[in-house]
C-alpha cells in the first residue's frame, strides 16, 4: 500500500540541539525519520520504529516511521537535514528558495534501513 502525501521539512528541538554534532548517533535519531498521522501509519501497516521509503520526483530515501497526530492525514514531516533533502525539490521558481515544504511524495513500508549520514553523503560523491 502506498500513501500519497505532501511532504514538508522543518526544525525540531532535537535536530537543533545536534546542529553541531551531525556526525553523532543523536543527530541520526533526530533527523532520519518521517512523521505521519497514526491513521496514515495504520493504512501503511507500519508501527513506530519500522522503516518507510519516501519517494518523490527528486529521489528516494529510507527513514524510520514516527507517529504525530498533530499532522493531518496526508501530511508527512521529515526534520530538516540530509534525509529530507534527498527527496525535496531543488527548484527555486526563479526566487532562489528551493522547495523545502510541500513536495508530493509516495510513501510505503520497507524492510531497508536508513543510511547513516556519512554513507548518504558518500552517495553524492560517488554519483
Amino acid at each position: 500500500m502506498t500513501l500519497n502525501a505532501n511532504l514538508i521539512s522543518g526544525r525540531t528541538a532535537q535536530q537543533g540541539a545536534n546542529l553541531e554534532a551531525k556526525t553523532s548517533r543523536a543527530y541520526f535519531d533526530a533527523c532520519a525519520y518521517c512523521e505521519l498521522n497514526s491513521k496514515d501509519l495504520e493504512q501503511l501497516d507500519v508501527a513506530e520504529g519500522d522503516c518507510l521509503k519516501v519517494k518523490t520526483e527528486f529521489g528516494e530515501i529510507v527513514v524510520f516511521a514516527k507517529a504525530n497526530n498533530g499532522n493531518p492525514q496526508g501530511l508527512a514531516f521529515i526534520p530538516m537535514g540530509p534525509w529530507a533533502n534527498a527527496v525535496l525539490s531543488p527548484e527555486t521558481h526563479g526566487c532562489g528558495m528551493p522547495g523545502l515544504k510541500g513536495v508530493p511524495a509516495k510513501i510505503k513500508r520497507t524492510k531497508e534501513k536508513p543510511l547513516d549520514m556519512k554513507s548518504l553523503m558518500r552517495s553524492y560523491r560517488e554519483a
Binding site: G16, S24, P98
Partner: protein, 434 residues
C-alpha cells in the same frame, strides 16, 4: 572559577544575552544557566561534539591532516584558478568575519550567499516588494496583546522566545504577561507551539496566500467577496480572525519557514507585509521574521551596507550584482555554474537538496568550520576554526536587527573565521602577483 554573566548565546536568532557561564581552571565550561536546549548544546556540546582538530586536505579520497600553510596555499590556489566560485554560509560567525568574507569574494570575483537562501531569503524579496514593517522585540514584550505565530514553531526552533520576548513575557503595558495576551497560531499541522495557543487555525498546505488575501479583503471592508471556505478555513472563522486582529491594541505576526518555503514563497511574505499595512489603518501591527542562525541577520546587515544587497551577490563584474533566482546559492549549483566553493559557518551538506549537493560533490570545496558535518564529507580542503561566541568575540544581529557583541569566554588554539578569511585574501593577492 570565573563566572561570566550576560554571555551571548550563539545558536539561534533569539541571541539571548543573559546566559551565565562558569569556566573551570582547565578552560572548560562546566555550568550554564538560563540557556535552552539549543544553547546548552552550543556551550556544553562544544566539549562533546566531533571537533575538526587540524587543517585537512582530501588525498586519494581521504581527508588527511596537513599544516595550515599547506591548506591555505591549496585553498588560495583553488580560488585563484576557479572561473566562478560560490562562497556560501557565513552565518554562524561574527560580522567582522562576514566583512572579510565579502572582501574575499569581491577580490576573487566570486558569488557570495548566506543561509537566507534556504531560510528567510524570500522575506528579503518580500521586503523589497512591500517593505518590512517591524519593531524590536521589546516592543512586543511591552505592548503586544495579540501574538500571531504564522508558519513557525518557536517551541522547537526558538525555545526561549515565548518567555523572553513574546507570549509569556511580562512588559510595561502587559504586566500580567500571558494572562493579558492572546496567542494565535496559523499552521498546516498542530505543532507543540499550536498546543499552547488560545486559537489554532489549521490551513491547507500551500494556501497561506489565499488566507492572507481573504483576511485583507475583510479588513479592508470587502467581506462580501469571500467564499464560504478559503484555505480550508470557514468564512465564519475568517471573520472572527479579522475581528480579533482589528480589535487588538498591538499585534505582532512572527513568521517562519511555513511562510517562506511553502508554495508562493516570497509572495506570502509580501502578503503578510500588505496585511500589516492594512491593519495599521485600524490598530498597531508589526511583523518580525523568526531568523534561524544567530547571525544570518548580521550577514544581511553587513552585506547590505558593504554591497547594497543582503544576499546572493555576484562579484563577477567587479561590482555587486544581485538577482536571487539567478545568483542564489541553490540557483548556481543546480545550473552547475560554479567550479569551486568555499563554505564557512553553515552546512549546505545537511541543508541543500540533492541536486545542489551533486554539484558541490563534483567541485573543489573549501570548508571552514569548528565541527565535522555533512559538508565535511564533500570537502577537499578543511580549516578548523574557533567557535564564535565562546572562543572568539564579535558582533551578531538578533532577529529584530539589534546588534549585540558576543564575548570570548575561553582561550583557544584555533584561528577565527575572520583570521582565516584575512589570510586567504593575502594569499590570493600573493598568488595573483606571482
Amino acid at each position: 572559577m570565573p563566572v561570566i554573566k550576560n554571555a551571548v548565546c550563539s545558536l539561534c536568532g533569539c541571541l539571548c544575552d543573559d546566559i551565565t557561564v562558569t569556566v573551570d581552571e582547565e578552560n572548560k565550561i562546566t555550568k550554564i544557566e538560563n540557556a535552552c536546549i539549543l544553547g546548552h548544546s552550543k556551550f556544553q556540546g562544544m566539549f562533546e561534539h566531533e571537533r575538526i582538530e587540524t587543517p585537512m586536505i582530501r588525498k586519494a579520497g581521504k581527508l588527511v591532516s596537513v599544516s595550515y600553510e599547506e591548506a591555505l596555499e591549496t585553498a588560495a590556489k583553488i580560488l585563484v584558478n576557479s572561473k566562478r566560485t560560490l562562497s556560501y554560509g557565513w552565518c554562524s560567525t561574527s560580522c567582522e568575519a562576514i566583512s572579510k568574507a565579502i572582501q574575499l569574494a569581491e577580490e576573487t570575483g566570486s558569488l557570495i550567499d548566506s543561509t537566507a537562501n534556504v531560510c528567510h531569503g524570500p522575506s528579503a524579496l518580500a521586503a523589497q516588494e512591500k517593505g518590512s514593517p517591524g519593531a524590536t522585540l521589546g516592543e512586543i514584550k511591552n505592548r503586544a496583546d495579540l501574538i500571531i505565530f504564522w508558519g513557525c514553531n518557536p517551541v522547537h526552533a526558538h525555545p526561549r522566545h515565548l518567555s523572553r520576548y513574546s507570549s509569556f513575557s511580562k512588559g510595561f503595558f502587559v504586566p500580567r504577561g500571558r494572562k493579558e495576551r492572546k496567542m494565535l497560531v496559523i499552521d498546516v499541522r498542530k505543532t507543540d507551539t499550536a498546543k499552547l495557543a488560545d486559537k489554532y487555525v489549521e490551513i491547507e498546505q500551500g494556501a497561506d496566500l489565499l488566507l492572507i488575501t481573504a483576511l485583507r479583503s475583510i479588513i479592508n471592508g470587502h467581506e462580501e467577496v469571500i467564499p464560504e471556505k478559503v484555505a480550508g478555513v470557514s468564512k465564519e472563522e475568517l471573520l472572527e480572525l479579522a475581528k480579533l486582529m482589528k480589535e487588538a491594541k498591538f499585534l505582532c505576526v512572527f513568521f517562519g519557514m511555513g511562510v517562506t518555503q511553502s508554495r508562493s514563497k516570497y509572495k506570502n511574505g509580501d502578503g503578510v507585509a500588505s496585511l500589516i499595512s492594512d491593519l495599521n489603518q485600524h490598530t498597531k501591527a508589526v511583523m518580525i521574521g523568526m531568523r534561524g542562525h544567530y547571525n544570518v541577520t548580521g550577514f544581511g546587515q553587513v552585506a547590505t551596507w558593504e554591497t547594497g544587497f543582503p544576499m546572493a551577490i555576484d562579484f563577477a563584474k567587479g561590482y555587486p550584482y544581485y538577482n536571487p533566482g539567478e545568483t542564489g546559492a541553490n540557483d548556481v549549483l543546480v545550473r552547475e555554474e560554479v567550479d569551486a566553493a568555499i563554505i564557512a559557518a553553515a552546512d549546505p551538506g545537511a541543508h541543500f537538496p540533492q541536486k545542489a549537493l551533486r554539484q558541490l560533490a563534483k567541485i573543489p570545496l573549501i570548508q571552514i568550520d569548528p565541527y565535522a558535518n555533512p559538508t565535511t564529507e564533500l570537502a577537499d580542503v578543511v580549516f578548523p576554526t574557533a567557535v564564535v561566541g565562546i572562543e572568539a568575540e564579535g558582533s551578531a544581529y538578533r532577529m529584530d536587527a539589534i546588534s549585540i557583541r558576543m564575548k570570548k569566554l575561553i582561550e583557544t588554539k584555533f584561528k577565527t573565521d575572520e583570521e582565516i578569511a584575512k589570510d586567504l585574501i593575502e594569499k590570493v593577492r600573493e598568488l595573483k602577483r606571482g
